[in-house]
Amino acid sequence: MPDKTNNTPPKGGYAARLPANHPVALYPPYRTSVKRSPQAAPLSFPSTISEETGPVFGHSMLGPLDGDLLRNFGPQDQTAIGPRIIVHGRVQDQFGRPVAGALLEVWQANAGGRYRHVKEGYIAPLDPNFGGCGRVITDADGRYELRTVKPGPYPWPNGPNDWRPAHIHFSVFGAGFAQRLITQMYFEGDPLIPLCPIVRTINDAAAVARLIAPLDKPHTLPMDALAYRFDITLRGRRQTLFENRMEGL
């Protein structure tokens, strides 16, 4: 039987999260982290049913335009302003198994770098045809595809002159709550990426590189939309019940 169809999740606990793959909690150049970062060590224990289960979202909850940010907000005959793109990829666990049924929720600024939000203060204009949210559920192979506009970069109140690289926020639900993740996808070639204090909360260059979606020329739609590929890896469960990490405080 091809490995691809063997999607029965193993019953062991979730492998421990490796801190090196993630940002540090306290990174003073990202000023808001200074008073919002826990300082005590977290409590570790092997995952239990509370973390190995999670909410299940069926395809039936999705509307036909949920994954099409070009069209899911504005009037029916109009689409959002800006460079039209496809964002697609695969969600897998750390052992390479596809994560089917994963809910991805995305949000982003419009092509001018402006969010549709009451706290937003940037002078760039709103796009009447762009709300900025979308969602999709992965198929049996863990694949997903969204349509949207390429978001613009924008200045933000942190240091005196900080700019966010263009990015799309992703919220991800896997099969277990232990897999819960929120991240940001960046775009290949953006010179603002290495300058951004939020990106720089991650110390590992390879971990940053994995957040940068390359242009996927073969997947583009001629005369319609460029394509970017963003693959996501979530935590995975071990094969055996008791093969867990050392229990520590």
């Binding site: 540090v24 509370s50 949210c133 939020i198 909360t201 019940l241």
Partner: protein, 196 residues
């Protein structure tokens, strides 16, 4: 052991509501309802409770831009998706903190105890996950109930070395069926967060 490294987290940022609670953010008509707005969807079994609280930063100021999620078992100790779980209870709640005072609130049922993998039971608890601007990796913790006799034998509470921090995981009963679970990101009363 790790064939593929986990994708790095990044902060949910100040505009998390656009993607996760768009109706709350005033973006109406895209999704009919915000995900997790209702945990009880019918005649759910068990005792109705309200779990509420605020998330405080290291200066003691409540966060007004955080998003809090809850995941819990039903009144029989079963998680949604398990056989025999309560079909009128989703177990999942999501709440954008109040933009004025930062309060989050879940209308739910009191969960029952659930099994511990090595045998025995875990005391009733609600898994809580907090994201916000300035939080680079979502914070995972649990709300236990201060009046639950099962707490004394809970294996997670039992392994906390600094015993004075156990209380940071205990939701305080405020009224007949209302429990307050305040979360402190920093300081003397810093909530115990989990790496699980």
């Amino acid at each position: 052991m790790n064939d593929f490294p986990e994708t790095a987290s990044q902060t949910a940022g100040p505009y998390v509501h656009i993607g996760c609670t768009p109706n709350f953010a005033g973006i109406n008509g895209v999704y009919p309802d915000d995900l997790g707005a209702k945990m009880i969807t019918g005649a759910a079994n068990g005792t109705r409770i309200t779990l509420l609280g605020q998330v405080f930063d290291g200066t003691g100021t409540p966060l007004r831009d955080a998003m809090v999620e809850a995941w819990q078992a039903d009144a029989n100790g079963l998680y949604a998706g398990q056989p025999e779980a309560d079909l009128h209870f989703t177990g999942f709640g999501r709440c954008a903190c109040d933009p004025v005072d930062g309060t989050f609130r879940f209308e739910t049922v009191r969960p029952a105890a659930v099994p511990w993998p090595q045998g025995g039971m875990q005391a009733p608890h609600i898994t809580i996950w907090i994201v916000a601007r300035g939080i680079n990796l979502g914070l995972h913790t649990r709300a236990y109930f201060e009046d639950a006799p099962e707490n004394d034998s809970d294996p997670v509470l039992g392994r906390i070395e600094h015993r004075n921090r156990v209380r940071t995981l205990l939701a305080q009963r405020e009224e007949e069926s209302t429990y307050r679970f305040n979360i402190h990101l920093q300081g003397a009363g810093e909530t115990m967060f989990f790496d699980v």
